[in-house]
Assembly symmetry: C2
């Protein structure tokens, strides 16, 4: 019998997707201007069915967003390469989520404060004793003179894929998983 | 004095970039069709100043490439979030490389064999006793009836950035690095 049972499929487990997006470190924001694609790695949070991130309010990213707010945000985790000696077969286990929609600049102070608090909780949990004050966020949402902007990508569409690899017996050697049929 | 010295800069160390691209697990391919961006996570190899990857010769990715071969390929590593109690400051250390150019389908059997051998060496080192034979690759490069395609992205431009965070003293707690000024 074939020792590896692969399942490459669309993932519809909402809790699993939610957990994945809440814990993944880095997302990749895809933009396009005059059909020239651009992909930027970002820290982010997933909150109320939207991606939030912040960044300098200048540069190529902002120029692209101003020309075309359509975006694709991709998050992927690679769970390792799997090999099976019989038959000679290699494969990769992963989970990935692709979110598409339009980017908006966040101008509501309450929304900005909540998103940035969730970002602190995600990346530096328990580090700050006090919650973020709104006054701290005012410069992020001000239309004038702001050097930092908070953006939001509403998920008009979300697709998740995962490939689970179930082995008869597994041995982890570093990041490579080998099967052992002996 | 400020305890964290940040250096966010363009990286021009060719050896460092080379090593980074040769060892990173996952790259994110950005495509665009009619200004709709699309970002796909991929296994890949970096060889002779080009990105090589393979995949099914069907689906949205192929449709996009056929309409518009322009691509942006981004690879990023997150080395952890850094916090410093005085002053309250958090930051992320990372390295990222963005490669831009046009995608080509690889039709040369020797080039395809070399690229796929380098891919095996990267993802499953030492796993296959024998090198890949050209006959194994013929179906990948055949213009007729192929279900798998190998693509190449020549690096018309490459930009690398890194942010090194140098701390006075560092303590690793999970993925979070704290400074201790005591």
């Amino acid at each position: 019998m074939f020792p590896i049972r692969n399942q490459k499929r669309n993932c519809t487990d909402t809790d699993k997707i939610q957990h994945f997006l809440e814990h993944a470190d880095t997302g990749f924001l895809g933009l396009s201007s005059e059909d020239v694609p651009y992909v930027i790695p970002l820290n982010f949070v997933w909150l109320n069915d939207a991606i939030y991130f912040h960044g300098a309010d200048e540069g190529r990213k902002v120029t692209y967003i101003e020309k075309n707010p359509m975006a694709c945000f991709t998050v992927s985790a690679n769970y390792g390469t799997i090999t099976s000696p019989i038959p000679a077969k290699t494969d990769t286990a992963y989970m990935s989520v692709i979110i598409e929609g339009s980017l908006l600049r966040v101008t509501d102070i309450n929304e900005a404060t909540e998103a940035m608090q969730v970002m602190l909780n995600k990346y530096v949990p328990g580090y700050y004793e006090r919650s973020l004050g709104k006054s701290h966020l005012e410069r992020y949402v001000s239309p004038l003179g702001s050097k930092t902007a908070i953006y939001k990508l509403n998920a008009d569409s979300l697709s998740a894929k995962e490939k689970e690899v179930i082995l008869d017996r597994m041995f982890y050697e570093g990041r490579t998983i080998h099967t052992d049929r002996a």
